[in-house]
Symmetry: C2
DNA sequence: CAGTGGTCTAGACCACCAC
DNA sequence: TGGTGGTCTAGACCACTGC
């Protein structure tokens, strides 16, 4: 084994060593990693240094700690989320949130946490162009793959659109909620998404079973109807290491290339 | 949701306190934060605990350490990168990488690190559908806003397309490189982007002046010509906290809503 | 109960920076 | 040279887990 020498910090060297052992199969997913005191003795560094190395691996999403029990390898593959295809897939009779999970042979599960009328939070109100506190329908879901949490998804629809419709049911019926919106004269024809990366809040970390400081992907998805009114906003929060987002589009200006100076 | 929470770790409480003081203006950007020994004395916790709190703030991108000097607030606002508009902007005579920065009133700067013929790295070769090691043109840039690094961008073009063209120059001429590609019969008509979040490598952390463990956004941008050949791939690496990505698209299936059961 | 990881402290040495 | 943050150690206490 490579010696632990101080050109780099020891905890970084320990982390590198553990990463290697995880990749080459020295440690397997069915067993906990050696305990911190054990590694401390084996590598001749203090337990604090081992602990710091573990924290690195945790922030990378490589391992997961079960307190009082041990540290385990996280075996979840990366899921690809294709922004266009996932909405097209509503016609395949699958909940859009499940498409990507099934594609990997994993078992998706959706837990409905809340469906009902609430006052619009400020961020949602801004997006929907309504007053803060104005009534909206919220549909709050937690999504899992093989019982591991993969995503929090809260979707909001203005109450004047949703009131008294099937959108209040757990199962919104054939074709999904966008089909219901279409029947109500608000069929989405355009979507926008804004993606940011930030550290998880305490609540999110707890719900997604993340360690503090792990980054999450925050997606604000907006559906616009033909009158250019925002009719639904969905807020997605996902573990950063778990997802790969895919977007594609045609060049709107392919015809009009040469004009002025510039570089790409 | 706000159930009874266990008392938080001291370093988290310290971090929360410092966050608050940064936001309410107790600490300002022109002065270093109080030193760790000072805070240790003031708050009655050990220096280690202060240091751990500082590491949290660093991983959030809120502060930045200048070793041997002090810890400073990072004052960089978030930059929005609109996938479609940035390419359309090539016709405004601006380097596409600069559009977003100028929009915020910051001063962009592009540093060309390498322009030349290299063997294709494996990841690039796969995307371009060529052999690993086959020659490609690489254009490697580092982008800054107000002299703070904001992005690494490496773009690759198959050598059989780029050879002997203006694409080898630092300034590729009117309309940017996509205009040159169009003149060569490979004008991009479609783009795909894949976005992942991961921890920075050592090199990236050093170039982007990040702390270890800070997340980066990794974008693989591919330009396709009318024959559906990938003619350029650009790899972008950006500090995760610094950017907001925006995508928008029209619903390709807006006409064909109702079909089978499903939820969204 | 014994073993696990989470956290905290006191003390120490070091590399780096400004003066 | 003195102050800064980066790191490491030994020892300790705690909450949580499974047996």
């Amino acid at each position: 084994m490579a010696a632990i020498q101080p050109p780099k910090a020891q905890y970084q060297q320990v982390a590198a060593l553990l990463r290697e052992r995880i990749h080459d199969g020295t440690y397997t997913a069915d067993q906990p990693l050696p305990s911190e005191p054990q590694l401390s003795a084996e590598l001749g560094v203090s337990r604090q240094t081992i602990n710091r190395a573990m924290n690195l691996l945790r922030s990378e999403g490589l391992v997961r700690v079960r307190r009082g029990f041990g540290t385990f390898i996280r075996g979840v593959p990366q899921v690809t989320r294709d922004a266009k295809k996932r909405y097209a897939a509503r016609n395949q009779g699958t909940g859009a949130g499940d498409v990507e999970i099934k594609a990997l042979g994993l078992t998706p599960r959706t837990e409905y946490v809340e469906i009902g009328r609430v006052p619009a939070p400020a961020a949602v109100a801004t997006v929907l162009s309504i007053e803060t506190g104005a009534p909206v329908l919220v549909r709050r879901r937690h999504l899992f793959a093989n019982d591991e949490p993969t995503q929090l998804a809260d979707s909001y629809i203005p109450w004047d659109i949703a009131e008294g419709t099937e959108l209040l049911n757990r199962n919104v019926g054939r074709g999904g909620s966008y089909t219901r919106l279409a029947e109500l004269g608000h069929g989405p024809v355009r979507f926008t998404e804004e993606v940011t990366v930030r550290t998880a809040t305490d609540d999110e970390a707890s719900l997604l079973e993340l360690d503090g400081g792990q980054p999450v992907i925050d997606i604000t998805h907006i559906a616009w109807d033909a009158a250019d009114r925002p009719v639904e906003v969905a807020l997605h929060v996902m573990p950063g290491n778990l997802w790969r987002l895919r977007y594609d589009w045609d060049d709107p200006t392919a015809d009009e290339y040469p004009t002025v100076d510039g570089e790409v």
